[in-house]
């Protein structure tokens, strides 16, 4: 047995926040109890002193691009799963926009298998909604589900045809598969490189209005309501989307949603190099501030944070999107979208807590059981008999974000040079120690 002795256990699934001792046997949690490890236990078991540390369920990240197969120079399943473990993330959902696209059981099994072989975070594949994610014909969803896919999505390629989306939702509903959407009306966002607004105007960059996201969220909520399918809205960035999801949830539509650390931390000012509350000043036209959906205005950011606090947004997900320096060191308009996030997600959520914007228990819930429930996964909880995915955290440790030291193969973080607090010191997946950080 492994005994995590007398740490501050924060386990929102079981409404625990207090000094507890966590008992792990094999791959499972045995118990979480108030009594510290006994002298007798210390003789027989591996007892880890967690006094002064926080002990949390391993984090669940619903939205991760691992780039394998096809773009292994940017990331591999192993390097991404390793980076996840370092960030305290014990389960990642691997997006299907690989080369080839994960629209068949063969690719899904490959991804899941590589994840098992790597032996870091759990890697669960997401399948495509449409064949090749080209938005026309449905992918073999039953086969994808059988091969281990936990949801379907054409992430990054908005499904513009409402008729296809309707059928996809119906078909996925029969299979009890959530449908994750990257909500963007391409005819509205048309060529936008950042959020439409004063900052884009000043920089002379083409803007994509928030309405491009909101309009598509509205459409998909309507179709989810009509079909009874489970819609999961990826990377919510706009206040209008929050409002639409709030209303839909009140009506009883089956919808869940996620938000990213960059959208709850940064605004479009970051593209102009204006320092955020926590970070140093950057360079104008910083391509590491380019992603889709783009960073929005401060009022959008506040709406997203508010929705994380009250549960309208269920999960924090990174949208970890590795790109190489050759891809990113180009003219802003030509740079690909996306930033990495696995190794900074938890610290940024804690920064939100310290800023008084999000209660601690809510933050941990959005990182653990919140996302797990979105896709009915058995993780993100320290309940007896649950899989022993657990992290130990030095919540006060300050560290400077240096992408050169990331486990990810890519360096495209908008948080380089930031000083953050909270460092994962141990990560257990299925009772096995997969990441350990020495004292500073």
């Amino acid at each position: 047995m492994i005994i995590l002795d007398s740490g501050r256990v924060i386990d929102p699934a079981n409404r625990i926040d207090g000094t507890r001792t966590v008992l792990i046997d094999g791959e499972k949690i045995v118990a979480v109890r108030e009594q510290a490890a006994t002298p007798a236990e210390k003789l027989v078991h591996t007892v880890i002193d967690c006094r002064g540390r926080w002990v949390l369920p391993g984090l669940v990240d619903l939205h991760v691009h691992l780039r394998e197969p096809g773009e292994e120079g940017k990331e591999t399943i192993a390097s991404g799963a390793r980076a996840a473990a370092a960030g305290g993330i014990t389960t990642v959902i691997a997006m299907p926009n690989t080369r080839p696209v994960c629209d068949s059981a063969a690719v899904a099994r490959f991804v899941a298998g590589r994840g098992r072989d790597a032996g870091f975070a759990r890697v669960l594949p997401a399948g495509a909604i449409t064949r090749g994610s080209d938005g026309e014909q449905l992918a073999d969803m039953a086969e994808l589900k059988e091969a281990g896919c936990v949801c379907v999505t054409d992430d990054g390629r908005p499904l513009m045809a409402a008729g296809v989306m309707r059928r996809a939702l119906e078909y996925a509903r029969d299979l009890m598969l959530p449908v994750m959407v990257h909500a963007e009306d391409l005819s509205l966002s048309g060529g936008g490189a950042m959020n439409e607004g004063p900052v884009a105007t000043r920089l002379g960059l083409p803007g994509a209005p928030a309405a491009a996201e909101v309009a598509m969220v509205q459409r998909d909520l309507l179709l989810a309501e009509m079909t009874g399918a489970h819609l999961h809205v990826a990377h919510v960035s706009a206040a209008g989307s929050v409002r639409a999801i709030r209303e839909a949830k009140a009506r009883g539509v089956r919808v869940t949603a996620e938000a990213t650390p960059h959208h709850f931390t940064l605004t479009d000012e970051a593209v102009a190099g204006v320092p955020a509350a926590l970070g140093p000043a950057g360079e104008p036209y910083d391509t590491n501030a380019k992603m889709n959906p783009p960073l929005r205005s401060e009022s959008d950011r506040q709406a997203v944070v508010g929705a994380l606090a009250d549960g309208i947004i269920d999960a924090i997900a990174t949208d970890h999107a590795p790109h190489g320096p050759l891809d990113k060191q180009v003219e802003f308009a030509h740079a690909p979208n996306g930033v990495i996030g696995l190794e900074t997600s938890l610290s940024l959520a804690l920064a939100l807590v310290r800023a008084g914007e999000l209660p601690l228990l809510r933050a941990v819930e959005r990182l653990t059981v919140g996302p797990a429930r979105c896709f009915s996964l058995p993780y993100g909880t320290l309940a007896a008999d649950a899989p022993a995915d657990v992290i130990v955290l030095d919540a006060e440790r300050e560290w400077k974000v240096d992408p050169q030291r990331f486990h990810s193969r890519s360096r495209n973080s908008p948080f380089a040079g930031w000083t953050l607090r909270g460092k994962v010191t141990k990560t257990f997946v299925a009772g096995r120690l997969v990441h350990e950080e020495g004292p500073k």
């Binding site: 105007t201 960059l205 180009v330 030509h334």
Partner: protein, 314 residues
């Protein structure tokens, strides 16, 4: 007063830096006028001898490029010109690699025009040479803003308290942005006007007001600057057509009547006659269009001299 080594934008220049540049440009402009008139004028070819100015244009342009080249030669610099198709990284050489090569050749100044906003800044990070932005996407066209200010300053003595209206495609215009920054720093009030489809979100945050009609833009203005309307604006559904635009926002004899009698008319060129400006206005007595071209050479001489730290004798 320190002048920056790169001229990437007017937004970050101080009023003192702009004034210093305009004063020098004004001197060059008068010297050139005297020389054209056959009078003995100071030869400025000793200012940048043996220095190399490279013009690197990723968009076609005749007037800006030739203006820079004439300016560089007038200062005694050697000139190399490159015209390239802008390429994304997937095909061909990256921008950084291209400019590093030119840097290695020995360029002292790189004059860059590029369709992507922010590209000159990327160039400045990659090279040792001074970088001068000759227009980047819809961001800025600093020397255009400066030459407009020079032409106006010479007419008025000062821009303090004057009102300038900029009319047309503000959304896609780097000229508009550089002018808003430059004119407002020099104490003028700037109004922008055009169909809502061509007014970018939050433009008033740059320090201008937005006029809802041509009459509102022109009433009481001391000068109006018309911007070029491009055919793409019809293709991307921002405008129904040239005629409809000319009817509501064109600067012609009829709209000129809304302006005070002594008000001036500018256009950065090239003009679509009969669309954003009628021929009679362009060639009329209030037009500064040809003077702007003259100011352009002088402003570019001053820019090169200051960025390359030439010692200018009085």
């Amino acid at each position: 007063m320190e002048f920056p080594r790169h001229l990437l934008e007017l937004e970050t220049l101080t009023r003192a830096q702009i004034e210093a540049l305009l004063t020098l440009a004004s001197r060059f402009k008068h010297e050139r006028a005297r020389a054209r008139g056959g009078d003995a004028a100071r030869d400025r070819r000793s200012l940048l001898p043996g220095r190399t100015v490279v013009t690197l244009f990723f968009e076609s342009s005749t007037r800006t490029r030739s203006s820079f080249e004439v300016a560089a030669r007038a200062l005694g610099a050697d000139v190399l010109s490159f015209q390239k198709e802008a390429s994304s990284v997937t095909k061909g050489e990256s921008l950084e690699d291209t400019v590093r090569n030119l840097d290695a050749i020995g360029a002292d100044a790189l004059v860059v025009r590029h369709p992507a906003a922010g590209a000159p800044r990327l160039v400045a990070r990659a090279v040792r040479a001074s970088v001068i932005n000759a227009g980047d996407g819809a961001h800025e066209h600093p020397t255009q803003g400066l030459l407009d200010a020079l032409s106006l300053r010479e007419r008025w003595g000062t821009l303090e308290g004057k009102t300038v209206a900029i009319v047309g495609d503000i959304a896609h215009s780097r000229v508009a942005r550089s002018n808003i920054h430059c004119l407002s720093k020099l104490g003028a009030r700037v109004r922008v006007g055009g169909p809502s489809t061509l007014i970018p979100a939050g433009v008033e945050k740059l320090g201008c007001t937005v006029a809802a009609s041509l009459a509102e833009a022109l009433t009481g203005a001391d000068a109006v600057m018309a911007l070029r309307i491009q055919n793409e604006r019809i293709a991307d559904a921002r405008l129904p057509g040239a005629r409809d635009y000319a009817r509501t926002w064109g600067i012609n004899a009829r709209s000129l009547a809304m302006l005070p009698r002594e008000a001036l008319v500018l256009h950065p060129g090239p003009v679509n006659r009969g669309v954003e400006m009628s021929s009679d206005v362009m060639e009329g007595p209030r037009s500064l269009v040809m003077d702007q071209v003259d100011s352009g050479v002088a402003v570019r001489m001053a820019t090169l001299a200051l960025c390359l730290r030439a010692e200018v004798p009085a």
